[in-house]
Symmetry: C2
Subunit: 266 residues, 2 copies
């Protein structure tokens, strides 16, 4: 459910982008389990004062992405009111023959891998990202993925979900984390690495697999998006991150430890 002035605001964002994103975040959730999306129910509360063209733009953005991903909009509910825009999408999918990949399957010794590059998504990517549906299916077909999630809250936070549900810990290497150009370009108090670790809305795939499968995916990748090996699953709970000098620190859920990446004054 996306809500005006909570998840987006006009006119900074176009109605077509909102319609697209409302479906895209759901597609990313299906991708996170290596599922195949099928049909969507779309319910909207349309602000009456914005008129018909606005409603058509919302629909156009959603419908275009639905067609790209072979999703049928099969139902829903259209309402208007004097309140802000609310759009709620329920997306149905099916698992592939290998079944769904859950958050709970990570094993000690697994490699931790991630697609694409991370950080700075709110500068634009979050409105135009390509949900990793085909990539997840191809990875799942080429290897036995033990656990997977899409990065919506941020690397450290979403990895935390895998660790909790798998009852394991992880050790990451700071210089293996793929930092996006948007994170490098960000001009604020956070370092690029900090953006990559703590920003949300990357909608990349974060997954674990055996070292053998991880190695095979890196050597003969079945997808066009880069894959990075960023660490390992360990028995001890929690997540630690090792910097280029070998210093190791605990990575909190909120995502950041002062002193890793660019130092930030405390």
């Amino acid at each position: 459910m996306l809500m005006e002035d909570v998840h987006f605001s006009f006119p900074a964002v176009a109605p077509r982008q909102v319609g697209r994103k409302a479906l895209a975040v759901n597609l990313s959730d299906i991708a996170a389990m290596a599922g195949r999306p099928l049909a969507a129910a779309v319910s909207v509360a349309l602000p009456r004062h914005r008129g018909m063209e606005f409603a058509q733009e919302i629909h156009a953005g959603l419908q275009q992405l639905a067609e790209e991903y072979g999703v049928v909009v099969a139902g829903g509910d259209t309402n208007s009111w004097n309140g802000p825009l609310v759009i709620s999408v329920t997306l149905l999918g099916e698992t592939s023959a290998k079944g769904a990949v859950l958050r709970s399957g990570a094993r000690v010794g697994d490699w931790v891998l991630v697609t694409g590059t991370l950080g700075g998504s709110l500068a634009g990517k979050h409105l135009a990202f390509h949900p990793r549906v085909e990539e997840a299916l191809a990875l799942h077909d080429a290897a036995n993925l033990h656990a997977m999630i899409d990065i919506s809250d941020g690397l450290s936070s979403d990895l935390g979900h895998i660790l909790d549900e798998s009852r394991v810990g992880a050790r990451l290497r700071a210089d293996s984390i793929p930092v996006s150009d948007a994170a490098l370009a960000a001009d604020d108090d956070k370092s690029p690495l900090e953006h990559a670790i703590s920003d949300g809305e990357d909608f990349e795939l974060l997954f674990t697999a055996s070292p053998e499968d991880g190695r095979r995916l890196l050597d003969r990748s079945p997808i066009d998006v880069p894959i990075s090996h960023i660490g390992e699953i360990v028995a001890q709970a929690g997540c630690t991150i090792e910097d280029a000098n070998g210093a190791c620190r605990t990575l909190p859920r909120s995502g950041w430890v002062h002193g890793i990446g660019a130092p930030v004054a405390e």
Copy 2:
């Protein structure tokens, strides 16, 4: 999708009633096709100022009805904001072995039948109605239902949907329409019959079947709720209604013709 101050208002309605109704209207939609409900996705935008107990009441109302009807709340999304309450439910179901009953199957000569009594729902029933899921399955099992819909907009309006999609017309008898006690008790400018024909939110089943099946359902009803035979499907488009004196008038979609039932000054 139910929206505060559009579909309900506080404090006239309790949050528990809103949670219940958000699922109930979806159960009624599944009943309308003689389907069996299975699983729900529930998304909410909760007004922050109303606090946690309010949210728990919404959930309790919905969850209690879900348990009564054997529905699993399988997913959804919980948000809070400074706006009004919005609750969106997607309900999944399956058809019985005989398949779904559509709006498009009415045939010339069919009887038009309705469950329960009609009118005055907004006086209270609309918050506490029992979706006719079991009744629809039992009727569908006992007879070949040709077309069915639940009465959410009102008898004349919802019958109109069946007539349009089946490309037929109907002739109703005014004195066969089951008027509810709430419609009889209504103290306003509309007659009880007018309430029964034009009020919405009865959530009863309106369906058609062959005269033989209709007769059998009346003689040996498979359900506890009364069934009324209110008219027939005819070839000519539109809907006419015959009063006790044999006078016949066109029944508009909006539901009412002056002069049928209690006369209303024009």
